[in-house]
């Protein structure tokens, strides 16, 4: 069966790409080795953040994506069947706090640079921070509020984007693992062979997150994407006491870090279900998903420093996800430099939900030959910072 485009990967990024391409009039087939949102998208918090970004291409992508997320629910309201769960989109705002004297100055410096780049980053006094979050540790040494930070429920968002893509004529095929490129007369990729048969297309978009490297290899391409593990603790349901996304100032450093060793910092927020999510850690250890109690203990310790009342809360679940990590910390969005007809959309690390809509828009513009809204060069798979890796 032939389509204009195949999207490999039914996570948030693949779903957003499928919807954007179908919206541009292309026939689209989405293939996934497993099911929708079965990988990274089902294992994260659904962060839509600007608070952890600095000036640069990723910030532009994040800001464009946030704008698109803000309008998405309205666009979807009319198209989706009632069984699609709500996005739980909420622009709740983020509060970054330092709890040590050493941490205060770097946080305020970082916020000043962000303001210069156009991010709404508002330094608060401890009293103002406690007005926003009354249960916060009163020993806060610095606090910055980011009203633009938002969140969605990532699985629901993925399912909604896929359902919207289907409403625009796209097809989803689950349980189809890509085995190889289809043999072709030309050196252009003409389709893929999967465990559920052959699929041909003019364009193949690879959005398989941390598994993109393996799939790329099947298709004769190479992509230095690696998994970076993150762990999140989930509490039992409790009375609503945490009202924003609250991070300690270590979070930014952990996101930006190249270290393979374990790094943890607090990312704490309530969910619509009444539970509290407490993250997060970042560690490179392949696809090993064994429970890491060192990470769990560190996360718990840091979270109780931010919200002392959490000491009595119960953790009922821990989940770990693998985030697609590229050596220069930027996603790849664009054509493969070696295999014509192959496109990449991955490498967003822990920000894939937040960046999905801007990524899809940029990819659609590149595939269909439209003038892109964003400068694509920084995200090009051919960039030198990847070749060196």
């Amino acid at each position: 069966m032939h389509s204009d485009a195949i999207v490999i990967g039914a996570g948030a990024v693949g779903a957003a790409c499928a919807r954007a391409l179908a919206g541009a009039g292309l026939t689209v087939t989405v293939l996934d080795a497993s099911g929708a949102a079965a990988g990274t998208s089902g294992q994260g918090e659904g962060n839509l953040l600007v608070s952890d970004k600095l000036r640069g291409p990723e910030l532009s992508l994040a800001m464009r994506s946030l704008e698109l997320w803000d309008g998405l629910q309205r666009e979807l309201d009319d198209e989706l069947p009632p069984g699609i769960p709500p996005l739980e989109y909420e622009r709740k705002g983020g509060l970054v706090v330092a709890t040590t004297d050493d941490g205060a100055a770097p946080l305020l410096d970082f916020a000043a640079q962000q303001r210069a780049a156009g991010i709404d980053a508002r330094p608060l006094t401890a009293a103002e921070a406690l007005d926003l979050e009354p249960d916060l540790n009163p020993a806060v040494t610095a606090a910055v509020f980011y009203p633009e930070d938002a969140q969605v429920q990532p699985v629901n968002a993925t399912e909604a984007l896929l359902a919207s893509a289907r409403a625009r004529g796209a097809r989803t095929v689950f349980g189809a693992r890509v085995i190889a490129a289809l043999p072709a007369a030309s050196d252009r990729l003409t389709g893929v062979r999967t465990t559920r048969g052959d699929f041909t297309a003019d364009h193949v978009i690879l959005a398989a997150g941390p598994w993109s490297g393996e799939v790329a290899a099947c298709l004769g391409a190479s992509l230095p994407v690696r998994p970076r593990r993150g762990v999140v603790l989930v509490t039992t349901r409790m009375p609503h006491r945490i009202f924003h996304k609250v991070y300690d100032a270590d979070y930014v450093a952990a996101v930006e870090s190249d270290a393979a060793s374990l790094q943890t910092s607090s990312v704490i927020e309530s969910t619509a279900g009444g539970t509290v999510l407490v993250g997060s850690s970042r560690q490179q250890r392949g696809f090993d998903d064994a429970l890491d109690l060192t990470a769990v203990r560190e996360i718990a310790e840091k979270a109780t420093r931010v919200f002392p009342f959490l000491a009595g809360a119960s953790v009922m679940r821990v989940y770990g996800g693998f985030r697609p990590f590229l050596p220069d910390h930027l996603p790849v969005i664009g054509p493969d430099p070696a295999v014509a007809g192959l496109w990449h959309a991955t490498g967003h690390e822990g920000a894939g939900i937040g960046l999905a809509l801007g990524t899809a828009e940029l990819l659609r513009d590149l595939v269909t030959g439209r003038a892109p809204q964003l400068e694509p060069g920084a995200f090009a798979p051919s960039r030198g910072t990847l070749a060196a890796a």
Binding site: T236, R237, P239, H240, S270, A272, G274, G312, A313, S314
Partner: protein, 103 residues
């Protein structure tokens, strides 16, 4: 609870414990679970569900379903069917309302 004098297995004479349930003293027997004390006192339900605000009490009775959660001496999320009642324990019913006060 079956009175010991009528009980075919002839248990030893019970030693009383009293716990405070939602502000009211309730008597039970040493070694009983918090749930058992409440059930024996005629209380079938104590938790209220988050969404539909429905009453719940013991369901599985062996610590698996977590339907019987109560607050004991200020600590939430205690399975009433698993916690052995101690004299003077203060048992409160958990507030399970969802964020935004969704009813």
């Amino acid at each position: 609870m079956l009175p010991p004098e009528r009980d075919p297995i002839a248990p030893a004479a019970p030693e009383a414990v009293t716990i405070i349930v939602d502000g009211i003293p309730v008597s039970g027997v040493a070694g009983q679970s918090v749930a058992g004390v409440m059930l024996a006192a005629g209380r079938l339900a104590w938790r209220t569900t988050a969404a539909a605000r429905r009453p719940r009490g013991v369901f599985c009775g062996i610590g698996v379903c977590f339907d019987c959660l109560v607050e004991v001496n200020g600590a939430r999320d205690v399975r009433a069917c698993q916690r052995i009642a101690r004299d003077g324990d203060v048992v409160a019913f958990q507030d399970e309302t969802l964020p935004g006060g969704a009813a």
